[in-house]
């Protein structure tokens, strides 16, 4: 039962507005450590250097997309234990199964509410205080 303030989160999306909205929502849930990166490659560089518990990533990004990031994370023993949540939308329907196979922890459908975000997170981490 982790405190939200203890969870170190990384948001990966190519749109800065989406990242900011998500960061706002996480902050409302009490998150205190929220990093942002704009594609999978940058996210990997960040994860390599910074202990992180939670990655929330979009599917569709330039350079390296969410699925490739997920696979890279799971394939790297050093960071593979991070919780990975993927943002989904209608367009990513076909990718969901691939994400499940790659070991995604949960999905967050866009658009979402803060309550929904909490629900999705608690499925992974247990009740968040």
């Amino acid at each position: 039962m982790p405190a939200a303030s203890q969870i170190k989160a990384l948001i990966v999306d190519d749109q800065s507005s989406i990242r900011q909205v998500l960061a706002n929502s996480l902050a409302q849930l009490g998150f205190m450590s929220i990093a942002q990166r704009k594609d999978g490659k940058e996210a990997l560089e960040y994860l390599d250097q910074n202990p992180t518990h939670l990655v929330i990533s979009d599917f569709n990004m330039p350079v390296m997309d969410g699925l490739a990031l997920l696979r890279a994370v799971r394939g790297n023993p050093k960071i593979q234990k991070v919780a990975f949540i993927i943002l989904t939308s209608e367009a990513s329907r076909d990718l969901v199964q691939d994400a499940v196979k790659a070991g995604v922890n949960n999905f967050l459908a866009k658009p979402y509410t803060v309550a929904k975000l909490r629900e999705v997170l608690e499925k992974v981490f247990g009740p968040i205080t």
Binding site: Q6, K8, S17, N24, M32, P51, H53, K81, K110, F125
Partner: protein, 755 residues
């Protein structure tokens, strides 16, 4: 989500603009026949991102349309539909609708015609053969998916570093360090440093500056607080802390050495390369030990285990953003100093550009304008009060002048923007004009990266729109006529931009029928613009289309307006301080050239005196200056004076009397009078006779129109260094007046100057 939402929404709309540009670029490439998967992906991603953002902000209209658009694009992306020209055309049209919907969402302004949306939607759906699935996301994830719980292993917050407990090691390879190795700087201030008011912070800032001066450079600083005594033993005026910084390998030792030019005498410091024995802690401590013991209360615990560990970490991460794993966490606190604590890590990727509110830059520009005036005032005061100005003062003023200029250029560069955004918008103008006229025209863009002041970029949009519509409506012939004339069925318009000696030159070149001079002439006579018996050159006839109230379209078309088009264009260009010229070859097409200043704020001017008044002529329009020889002047039967320059005869304009300032003075150019030869873009020249050339100065343009009204022959006013107001002359208008057939009257200017 609180008041931040408004700001985030603004960011979203800015992103939408970027995505739309991306979309435009991608679709243009596709319509040029490119079929790279990455282009298709980029196009898809652009629409997808707009949709995703819009959904987060509850912009339903936008989401709905973007969704249909996205579904169709997905058809192309997945290879189910080929991106044929017809398909791309539908996408282009949808893009226009999408961009209007974005504007609608942003401004809440006039809503987009629902019929247009529906039409585009149907076309989009026809591509993938059927309805796009309804927009819903809840069932994207199969119902049998079970979220995978995660064991949570807490990692303490920043600044309480504990070895990372993922049960894994960081995998750093303490292999040989590549040369050149990162630069390691240690320093430990003496009490004296603080006593004299200096601060270790200044040295850290200096080191940071040195590090970030390298591209992508970052600095890692660790503070050794191990010498801190228990709180009750702490003496506030003593120095207890020392620091160790790792800088990028590219930083030179000398650069770092210079950081210690100040303060180096009151602290111990070492500079070494990683792997160098000197960097191994011991050396730094030795230096500390070497201090006079009375001055150094530091009982610095040698950070033996810590520093080597750090060294390894740093070598592997090449001094970038590490939160180093350290074995003495209680003694050493890592902190990235790059741009303020943690922000450095989080924001790293966004440092390349920053968004600045426009009013701030405008304000900066205004202030720089005032600075230019103040600088000129200072200079003229110094000259006036010191007939023999000391050389040093002169040098100071000269260096200040060049700095002022540099600042001005720098601010201008901040405001500069490529014309790309407005050029790309023209593609849409052409598409719409084509669909209204039923003609097929391809617009080619050149020099989109040419940069001009952003105020100009915005103001170009309307004139260019008008001119392109005109070119398509009147210039490009109907398909039958084109084929009959042996031209390709598809018309071609080239829109290009380039820099030309302090000006930006924009040309619009079409391969249409050219200007029909007989018809222009007949119309102009019919409308009473010129006398029935006027004899005009081809150029002058061409220019008639800029006359107010002129229209050659036999039927007023929906598209290019009601005969006010080109007149309005000309006024718009003139008000930007620019000029417009036409060249037209019957049957071959027409070229419009717009010449615009790079900025609307300042110009390089020549200070002249004529008829007792000091005036400014833009240096850019002065070709040369010379002394008139009486034997070279001629008087024509109608009283006009000409001067022969190397075999060419050009009209002579006695500026003072032309402006009504010295009508009493003999119009006869005195022997030895000074003449400026000025030229307009089409090469016409005239010689302006002036009393004196006084100086050359950078002047700040103050609009006449804003404060008074437009005056032919005068383009603006300025404030000179001595505080006096002076007029900036419009050389090409003076030439036109001297050549004197098109009705440019200077009487207004006379009235103003006489007042």
């Amino acid at each position: 989500m609180s008041g931040d939402m408004g700001d985030i929404l603004l960011v979203f709309f800015q992103e939408c603009d970027e995505q739309l540009q991306e979309l435009e670029r991608g679709l243009s490439a596709l319509s040029d026949g490119e079929s790279e998967q990455e282009t298709i992906n980029a196009v898809f991603r652009a629409v997808h991102s707009i949709k995703g953002g819009a959904a987060s902000f509850g912009l339903e209209n936008l989401v709905r349309f973007a969704h249909v658009f996205e579904s169709s694009l997905d058809g192309v992306r997945s290879g189910r539909v080929a991106p044929t020209q017809d398909v791309v055309k539908i996408f282009l049209k949808a893009m226009d609708v999408l961009s209007d919907l974005v504007v609608e969402a942003r401004d809440g302004g006039p809503s987009v015609d629902p019929g247009r949306i529906a039409e585009s939607q149907i076309e989009l759906e026809s591509i993938i053969g059927g309805n796009a699935e309804a927009h819903k996301t809840d069932d994207v994830v199969p119902s049998d998916f079970v979220p995978i719980p995660m064991d949570f292993v807490p990692v303490p917050m920043d600044f309480e570093p504990v070895p990372v407990d993922f049960g894994l090691d960081f995998g750093f390879d303490p292999a040989p360090v590549q040369a050149p190795a990162p630069l390691i700087v240690t320093f430990c201030p003496h009490d004296a440093m603080y006593a004299r008011g200096d601060d270790a912070r200044n040295i850290l800032i200096g080191l940071t500056d040195a590090a970030v001066a390298v591209e992508g450079g970052e600095i890692t600083v660790t503070c050794d607080a191990s010498a801190l005594p228990p709180f009750d033993a702490l003496e506030p005026d003593r120095s207890y802390l020392s620091w160790r910084a790792v800088l990028p390998a590219e930083v030179l030792e000398d650069t770092v050495q210079s950081v210690f030019d100040w303060g180096g005498d009151v602290c111990d410091f070492t500079i070494s390369r990683e792997g160098d024995p000197a960097s191994e802690g011991g050396e730094a401590i030795a230096a500390t030990d070497a201090q006079p013991s009375g001055e150094t209360p530091l009982d610095v615990a040698p950070p033996e285990p810590a520093v080597p560990a750090l060294a390894e970490t740093s070598s592997a991460v090449t001094a970038a953003q590490a939160t180093p794993a350290v074995s003495r966490p209680d003694a050493i606190q890592p902190a990235a100093v790059a741009s303020g604590a943690n922000g450095a890590n989080v924001r790293r990727t966004e440092q390349a550009t920053i968004r600045v509110d426009l009013p701030r830059i405008d304000n900066l520009m205004d202030l720089v304008g005032e600075l230019v005036i103040a600088q000129a005032a200072l200079e003229s005061q110094c000259r006036r009060n010191n007939a023999s100005m000391p050389r040093e003062l002169g040098e100071c003023i000269a260096s200040m002048q060049s700095l002022t200029r540099d600042i001005q250029d720098a601010v201008m560069a901040v405001r500069a923007q490529p014309v790309r955004s407005v050029f790309q918008r023209m593609q849409r103008v052409v598409r719409e004009a084509c669909s209204m006229t039923g003609k097929d025209v391809v617009l080619t863009l050149e020099g989109e990266d040419t940069e001009v002041d952003r105020t100009l970029v915005e103001k170009l949009s309307d004139p260019l729109t008008h001119m392109l519509r005109n070119a398509i409506d009147h210039g490009i012939e109907k398909v039958e006529d084109r084929l009959a004339a042996g031209k390709p069925a598809i018309g071609h318009i080239l829109l290009s931009a380039s820099h030309r000696s302090g000006h930006i030159l924009i040309t619009i070149k079409d391969d249409g029928g050219g200007i029909n001079r007989e018809r222009v002439l007949a119309t102009a006579i019919k409308r009473g613009i010129i006398a029935p018996d006027a004899v005009l050159t081809d150029d002058e006839i061409n220019n008639l289309i800029f006359a107010p109230g002129f229209s050659t379209a036999d039927t007023i078309s929906n598209l290019s307006g009601r005969g006010v088009g080109m007149d309005v264009v000309k006024q718009a260009i003139l008000s930007l301080g620019g000029r417009i010229t036409i060249q037209s070859v019957p049957g071959n097409g027409t070229v419009f050239c717009l010449s615009l200043p790079l900025t609307l704020a300042v110009l390089d001017g020549m200070l002249i005196v004529a008829g007792g008044a000091t005036m400014v002529i833009p240096v850019s329009s002065v070709v040369e200056t010379m002394i008139i020889k009486p034997q070279d002047t001629y008087v024509l039967p109608d009283g006009k004076k000409m001067v022969s320059i190397r075999g060419d005869c050009i009209p002579l304009v006695p500026l003072g009397s032309e402006l009504g300032l010295s009508a009493a003075v003999s119009d006869e150019p005195r022997d030895g009078a000074v003449m400026l030869i000025v030229e307009n873009e089409s090469g016409a020249r005239a010689g302006l006779v002036v009393d004196e050339i006084r100086d050359q100065a950078h002047v700040v343009i103050k609009s006449m129109e804003k404060n008074y009204r437009r005056i032919p022959g005068v383009s603006a006013a300025t404030i000179l260094g001595d505080g006096s107001v002076s007029l900036i002359l419009d050389a090409p208008a003076l030439i036109a007046s001297a050549v004197g057939r098109i009705n440019t009257k200077l009487s207004d200017a006379r009235a103003v100057l006489a007042a």
